[in-house]
């Protein structure tokens, strides 16, 4: 299994990414293709005595910045780690993982690797813990303006993905909305509801944002603008609460408090899944968090290997073909 590792784009630097990959190599069988500064990559691999492992290195000194315009960057930075990686993914890679610019990964996934015929635009899909099991949440920020048809495609994709990663026969699919009752919502939600209600996946109607963390629905469908709002609000509220508690927690000796805080941290621990698939692209493409730790990146590689072994992309493409 050839996995393309983009070593650029992480807040903590390429070292964190390379070390995370090495940790994964020691536990899982795959051939990493590192893209980035050859000297740094070789130095760390040598220090870690990885000479008996299979790996390749492609040298790149060019990085696409998070502020770059995605389509401009793809055109002008053809020798960037991200563009080189996507080209390799198309040609021979089994999967690629990158902390790089989400916009560039989406645009490049579509333009270079190509999207599945039935998917107008790919979506970023999160799989995160709640008080009651995991929730698959999409679109987590890729497409700011969505049509009802696109949201319905997201639901179909999520349904297949959900069967595999939640290990459920028929995961429950919800539409994120301002109220649980039918007939609630804006124009987009009202039209989407009608379409989703006719589909063969297990559509359970609307769900309110407060119930994502409290009830842990299997699958929640929304547009990328709203997805961003929900995720960033979650981050802001959790950070605000933790900030207020931090000093007191650091000093306490109360074991029950520490145990409870551990549970809270588990709820917002992005290290657990490590990376999110960009679904709808023809080859497995994973976006890792910019602030990924070594542990999170390792976990991201595990998540991607599991995804590839379960042939999730093939199953999605097959299912969409059957339906069309």
């Amino acid at each position: 299994m050839k996995l393309i590792i983009d070593t650029f784009g992480a807040d903590k630097g390429a070292e964190e990414i390379i070390h995370g990959t090495i940790d994964a190599m020691r536990n899982k069988s795959f051939e990493p293709i590192f893209i980035g500064d050859r000297k740094i990559i070789e130095k760390i691999l040598e220090e870690e005595q990885m000479e008996d492992y299979n790996y390749r290195i492609l040298h790149s000194e060019v990085q696409i910045d998070h502020g770059d315009s995605p389509t401009m960057a793809l055109r002008q930075k053809k020798d960037s780690s991200l563009v080189m990686g996507l080209r390799l993914l198309k040609e021979e890679g089994d999967g690629m993982i990158s902390c790089g610019s989400t916009g560039a990964l989406l645009a490049g996934g579509t333009l270079i690797v190509k999207r599945m015929a039935q998917v107008k635009r790919p979506a970023i899909v999160l799989n995160f813990p709640t008080l009651r099991g995991n929730t698959i949440f999409l679109d987590a920020g890729a497409n700011t303006d969505c049509t009802p048809q696109l949201l319905n495609t997201f639901a179909k994709i999520a349904n297949i993905y959900g069967k595999e990663v939640l290990e459920k026969e028929s995961p429950e699919v919800y539409l994120l909305n301002i109220g649980a009752e039918e007939g609630k919502g804006d124009e987009l939600r009202l039209n989407t509801y009608d379409i989703m209600a006719e589909e063969s996946y297990n559509f359970k109607g609307n769900i309110e944002a407060r119930d994502i963390f409290l009830k842990g629905p299997d699958i929640v469908i929304t547009d990328g603008f709203t997805g961003n709002m929900v995720l960033k609000t979650t981050e802001g509220v959790a950070t605000a609460i933790m900030g207020l508690l931090k000093d007191a927690i650091h000093q306490t000796k109360d074991q029950e408090i520490l145990k409870a805080m551990g549970k809270v941290q588990g709820l917002f621990d992005y290290n657990k899944t490590g990376a999110a698939p960009i679904l709808g692209v023809k080859k497995p493409l994973f976006k890792a968090h910019g602030s990924s730790s070594r542990k999170a990146f390792k976990q991201g590689i595990y998540t991607m290997i599991d995804f590839i072994e379960k042939k999730v992309n093939e199953k999605i493409e097959e299912n969409l073909k059957e339906e069309s």
Copy 2:
């Protein structure tokens, strides 16, 4: 000052509303006009020995339920406390406060009390504490589909309201968006940004959802669908975290932990402001939370009295006229 008190619609029953109003009567000078079950209202006023205070009671046995279609309910339930209250507000009231159906209050505010000439649709405006001062947030859920022009009107309204309640010369106005940079967002946000940038209020550009609680911007403008998402996510995440900590907190004797938890609770304490104005309606109309406690309702009345004394509605109408 005649304040109309809708005693129906509270989760905890009319008693909580009546007691909250009595608490306010003992501290502030106003004449409440209670609408609801006369027997219950009289009984409590008698028990509390309020015979020396000015008040009126209008009897109603009809309640608009939260599930009712707002416009249908307004037409069919003309003797409901909510419709009677809105008619009285139009004729002689100085303000009205209700825990009733938000949809019915909005529709009734527009159809019965009437909206200001320059405001196409009223907005629900929250004023809540953050880590750094209070934030005025609108639309908190009234209008699911908004135009750039409507969002701009909300910004103008919020600017006047903000000057009064934040006591700032020139409050900073932000547009809620998926990124802080210009050029981010969906169609609606891109078009709104261009309009807001031309206005005379102190527009500071985009703000991300995570920064509302962390940075405490003066004013945040968004559509009612997104407003609902942010508020319900906040509620869900805060409830989830508190739920995980609850037992440990109840048992701890660590004073620092308890002090820090007090601060967290303060951040999400809706009792503090008690009620939210529906701005754009010609007379002061306040929506109190359905789960209002006696204390929250009392605070809601205080908030409304302050709003009336500061002549906020008059100032908004004047300002909009000057600009048009």
